[in-house]
Symmetry: C3
Subunit: 631 residues, 3 copies
């Protein structure tokens, strides 16, 4: 298909110029059509302040372009050079612990520093002016992995000043802020915006409303930083797509807001690194050590597809072998690079770009595999990539991809569960993001197509809508859900807060009280050792983590053996009184999917399927066989 | 009974004035007679420096008083307002890590800062002058939970200067200090008091004598800070009780010293939060998740009763539902609020005051239950409280409460086991406090009344005296124990140090050598994986954690299967060579209680009893039934 | 034997002068001939700047000498006094976290601080001038336990400047440094040496080449600091040995480099403290709690014997009872002090010196046992020591000690596995040091004598050479191994890096490719949950931690049940594709020892043997019996 591209991340500045032409030809021979370059090259582009060295980059672009490749050019703002840092040392971010986060790796800047903001615009403009109309340049990537290494938040003096301004714009009067935050509580009232502190380094926890404001502010700073680059690029490079590479299981900035400013949202897919890093069960970590959990990549595909207006997205970095950055780094099984690639296109990717062309034998990522080994021989993935390039035609589909289930997810929901976890339980597993992942996994194991969408997204056409955990529910969303004819599943904490982290006047679920037919009068957070269990349709379920006491007209749905009600029913709506996870949410989702009339059926544990237009594709993550079955 | 009061903590400043009268009437209707207010309201009392707003507080007190309630008025020094902090930023405490502990929550002050000390006296005087003779005000609470969030110690410049002065007063000459601390050891000798550093941030551990001095100093600073308020209150509000609310499992300042300056020592009882937070077994945490371990509340009742000269104490904050601050926060079972309340009175409380009247829907404690929900409807506890108010008459008793067993506990003992744990084992479980808790639990499971008393307390009338862990034993205490006719159980490390943390000249147990008939010549600290075990009276016991080698005339008592002696007997005195915990200390205590002729009998695991005058009351913490049986 | 001495560490400054003569006589009576003094006594030698108090030290030395003891005199530079620190507060080291590491314990200095360097030379010269020709002084100890409490590295301004100078000397041009480190990677290029930062406090990990340079620099600073003292001592005290006391399982500086400047390398042997502190299995920690793992002491004996040109070494501190500094501190079994002593001599020690004469009842180490108790009575070890002194004659041997197996270990190898662990696994267990320990243990359980030698050591005479993990292999070492006729076992990561932490041009194992007949094309790091297993000679083996994919002419050796090759054979060389540990490395070592024709035979789990000249000695660490059998 013409709109499915394979690409690769390439760093000509790492290699002798004599290799470039051969590299380009081998890329083309492997079936690649896109190449991403430039995003860490500031020290080579501008080795001294205002002294640009364009020659090497001109030649690199020319070589790649003349070989038939199209270029995604990155702005190098994730790695400001030492001379720039020495000019304005206060551009460095400050960590939550109050320590300056120093030079010597990457992402060493504070989003709120006006001086660095101007520098980022300056270097972006310089690049855009030089290459904005180059025929080989088809897209721009802004910066690289915003927020990586916990860099969204900074606790610098610059951030404090900017936060004060942000507060004054949001709240207009300090009295309004004091009231919204409930600052009377511990005599925390401010007399002016200039008195506002950052919420770190307090004696005990700061006000959750304070934290939420700071998280919103910090996210807004990322969006503004990005938009400044976007504005320059749109002005100087018309007709080119603008993208950015998001990460996995990362929520520190609002990707819906970022996506609104981009043409295509990219993301960096490292299934093995994510499996090792994040909170999967020991059993899954062992079973899928060389494959990745079968929902990791697809969850993000479906999440990021919902982040841009046009639903355009791609994989900007695809793991091609062992990585270097997880605690342990196994190699993928033979066939996995092919599976991951095809699965991305099955979920609608425009491009899958491998990270990276050739393993660089030095510096931080020397143990990160590429398509070529450091000795320039093919790494195992290259043959798979070459084969996949020839298979893409088989993914040509016709007709519309069916709408089945929607999950509503908002980034600020995850900030709120992080700020006030109530019960950390198994690590981050009780966050809004992981609630969404659990619901997603339950839907996917039934073979359903899932769209993950923000509040406000049109819900027409979905037979099943799941709201795993959404503390703030607007009246508009409540109305939209009420109007939605499909089955609805609502998770705990949904509607439990007003816009400034207060409990809503009429108690949770706030504006959803009528739709759910209940009021939550008391919430318990439970350690892992507490649980309730029951049986539904002959299958046992177990629930815990959270337990809501309710009153209202809703009727008991799942009832535990000890009589406690684990979920409530009110018409087509199910409310989860316990935390959505495991067999509990699988039971609820299965019932709702059945009631919705969706063609659901349990798949084997390692298998997922995806409907793409008129195709039904299966992906088997088991070690016994790796099967991709385009129909 | 006329001297058993129910009360509630109330924050009129959180609510519209229009609610106050109704609140007061509902309090009275529920049987409450006391209301505690004001302790976090500085920013409303004095919104700008020296600009007081008394109106609202005048009216709040009037409304409450006229409804028939008596008021406990708090000084607001736990929450200095922002304008004050900005006036003197160096009033902020400094953490052990050297970082300033910033504004934005509460307790953001250094006890050694002279400027803040003066401010605390000033605001206390302002309150006392205005309300000191108010008929509605029956008591004052100083500050709030001294030391909460690890705030007893501060490592600020102000603390360093004050510590140097404290040292010069205690040791008179620097040579005496060097000698007492053994500073020659690593050339740590000071030439003057001005050279003395705080013991944090050293390359490896500081001298334990240095730490002990700093812990004593830090405790003394709390006592002095409190006494300054007490002096003002006594001068301006004669005839009113002065109290403070202590916490659970907290030893950072000397509560015996604090209690000496107060009329009534209060404490804040959160059985579920404490169970989740502190070192109970997984089995107990599961079994008692919704009740709290049956010794948690009673241990503190009996501990704090021993902290004031008159034995007067109360529960200033009683958990009424889920709290917000533990890692996980389950709800109490129905009936538990009633049980906790009655049990407090059974142990001699003057008042039980619930925290808090109405759940505040904002800020840090928004998830902390009250007697009312945020929507002003009754929370589950309100009905229990109302019922309990009617039951108090049944606790009317006559006659003296019998003396049975005494535990001797000193706060500095816990500082010493914290400074030099020897073997952290299961967290803090090898501290002097937890040794006391283990002994207490063993006594209570035999159905005995226990008094927890400081060294120097009159031991007359106790058939059994237990000294779980008291590193410093004065000659006076040694003499008192020698004169005590009852059975005596002495735990390890008792008598093992002189007043400046040195090993006593004739080795441990120092002045107790004659009484115990032994000398400890060698002490081992053991990891959890090492233990010895044996059988006594047909029941197995297991011991570990610590092991003392002794020589002397004492005879073996418990002997392990491998021949090692786990406890020694010398006349009526038993010495524990292993750490007092579990089946080991239960065996020793049971033998001693039997030898003492006490009416001991093993109770079911979840049941405790308390003799109150002529009453025998039972409290069953099991989920099967919650029974309070006044006889 | 005339060259086997017993000694003791003694602190006359801790005790009244009236005790000294009796102490000296009791030392001699116990069979001791050496006494180490002075290393922490700066505040007594020079109580004020330039005001020396020699009298007490003159008299102490005289008393000891006249009793017949010979003295090892320490320079007191590990404990600079307060007045000196106050003169130059920036002499304090800075931790990796950026915090100054303060006064109040010991080792409070930065090796790179020129002012303190000069002070250390000054106090050394003062001591050497006064006692350099004293007949009683037979040796000098420099400082005390360099690096204890993580003090090799300092991140101070002084260290940064010194590191910049070090870099300029090593790399000559900044372009060479940038190229060697691969600084282009993330625009980390420096324009001058003055721009170089220390590698701590970066946003994410710093460049591993940067870290390796900083580790080398930090080690070099220790060597230079020591050499400055050595130069003074050689000049002013001719004919005396110079020694230093190294520690256990400690690699932060290059002990081979240090040893090159010393006559005798000492070390401090605390088998129980090390067992508790380091990564032994729970089963071993339980079984050997009172004895220490049977390879702990011997491993260090054989390691440090290889650190000086002449192979001269001693135990400068020998544990005589419980220590104070481990997490838990059990007592040694009766007989263990004797066993440890005799085993040290069996491995070639010149002296075993017990730490310490009398337990000091104050300060940080008050719970550290001595040969005497604090009350001046004999501690249990004294009788064992006295008995051992009479047994030394039985260790008189004739003939050469046989060469059997050599392990090649380099300190920078451990720095590299620490910098880039790839998979932390069970703590530090995947470090080069612990790989060496696992290989050593496997060899020793076969009853073999082992020499642990640096790269470049003459390998003639060894039938078996093991290279457990040596990332940097020089061409010279490759040639030496190729010329070595014995069996060779090579562990993973060997030859995997060039001198600046880059992957070698032709991939690992770099210059060993021909010898091994293979190229490592891909390396996986595995979590503990992943493993492969197989059977060899009827015995099961299990491997994991790491897995290398190779290509070449080598043939499979151990093959797992799933077909993966766990080790490769090429002629007399075996390559380990998995991490050397447990049954896997035992299997490989046993096969290699057999092929080498060595007289290997499995010993019981708790027994080790050592050939010393014509003697064969056995050491049984089991609790059932402690047998030392000189033949």
């Amino acid at each position: 298909m013409s709109d499915m591209h394979l690409g690769v991340c390439y760093y000509p500045e790492h290699w002798p110029e004599s290799l470039w032409a051969d590299d380009a030809q081998r890329m083309v021979a492997a079936g690649l059509t896109r190449v991403r370059i430039g995003e860490f090259a500031w020290s080579r582009i501008e080795p001294e302040d205002a002294q640009f060295d364009w020659g090497w980059l001109d030649r690199a672009i020319a070589v790649l372009h003349s070989a038939g490749l199209r270029i995604i050019l990155g702005t190098p703002t994730a790695t400001p050079p030492k001379w720039l840092v020495d000019q304005m040392p206060d551009m460095l971010a400050v960590g939550q612990d109050g320590r300056v986060r120093g030079y010597g790796s990457r992402r060493h800047y504070c989003f709120s520093h006006a001086g660095y903001h101007a520098q980022a615009v300056r270097i972006t403009r310089a690049l855009a002016e030089r290459y904005g109309h180059h025929l080989g340049v088809v897209a721009w990537q802004t910066d690289n992995e915003y927020g990586c290494h916990d860099t969204v938040e900074s606790y610098s003096p610059a951030a404090r000043s900017a936060f004060q301004r942000w507060c004054s714009q949001r709240y207009a009067s300090i009295a309004a802020l004091n009231s919204a935050w409930g600052n009377v509580f511990w005599s925390m009232e401010y007399r002016s915006f200039a008195e506002i502190e950052l919420p770190n380094l307090t004696v005990t926890e700061a006000n959750p409303a304070h934290w939420l404001a700071f998280r919103r502010f910090s996210s807004d700073q990322v969006i503004a930083f990005n938009r400044a680059q976007v504005d320059v690029l749109r002005a100087h490079s018309p007709g080119r797509d603008i993208t950015h590479n998001a990460m996995g299981f990362f929520t520190a900035y609002d990707h819906h807001a970022l996506g609104a400013d981009l043409d295509v949202l990219g993301w960096d897919s490292y299934p093995l690194g994510f499996l090792e890093t994040f909170r999967f069960s020991e059993a899954d970590k062992q079973r899928f050590a060389h494959q990745g959990h079968p929902d990791i990549a697809a969850f993000h595909h479906d999440l990021y597809r919902g982040c841009t207006r046009g639903g355009r997205w791609s994989v900007l970095e695809q793991q091609p072998g062992p990585v270097n950055w997880a605690r342990h780094n196994p190699a993928p099984l033979p066939g996995m690079v092919r599976l991951w690639t095809l699965e991305a296109f099955a979920h609608g990717a425009e491009m899958v770009s491998y990270f990276r062309w050739r393993q660089f034998p030095k510096a931080q990522e020397q143990m990160h595999a590429g398509l070529l080994r450091p000795d320039n021989q093919p790494a195992p993935a290259l043959a798979e990539v070459t084969a996949v390039a020839l298979e893409l035609a088989a993914l040509a589909s016709s007709g519309d991809t069916p709408k089945q289930a929607a999950i509503i997810f908002a980034y600020e929901a995850d900030w709120m569960t992080d700020i006030q976890p109530h019960g950390p339980g198994s690590g981050a597993s009780r966050s809004a993001l992981w609630a969404a992942f659990a619901c997603y996994s339950a839907l996917r194991r039934l073979g359903l197509n899932v769209d993950i969408v923000p509040p406000g997204h049109d819900l027409a056409g979905y037979a099943l809508v799941v709201v795993p955990c959404l503390p703030i529910v607007s009246d508009a969303l409540a109305a939209e859900l009420a109007a939605c004819p499909g089955q609805i599943v609502i998770g705990p904490r949904t509607g439990s807060r007003d816009t400034d982290f207060g409990i809503p006047t009429g108690l949770p679920p706030g504006p959803l009280r009528d739709l759910l037919g209940l009021t939550v009068i008391l919430s318990e957070s439970w350690p892992d050792r507490l649980s309730i269990e029951g049986v539904a349709e002959g299958m046992p379920w177990q629930a815990g983590g959270w337990y809501d006491h309710v009153e209202g007209v809703a009727v008991p749905d799942l009832v535990a053996t000890d009589g406690r009600v684990a979920s409530w029913q009110h018409g087509r709506v199910t409310y989860c009184a316990a935390w959505p996870a495991g067999s509990y949410i699988e039971t609820i989702i299965a019932r709702a999917a059945s009631a919705a009339g969706l063609p659901s059926q349990p798949l084997p544990y390692s298998v997922r399927q995806r409907r793409l237009g008129n195709l039904l594709l299966h992906f088997d993550y088991d070690t016994a066989s790796v099967t991709i079955s385009p129909q």
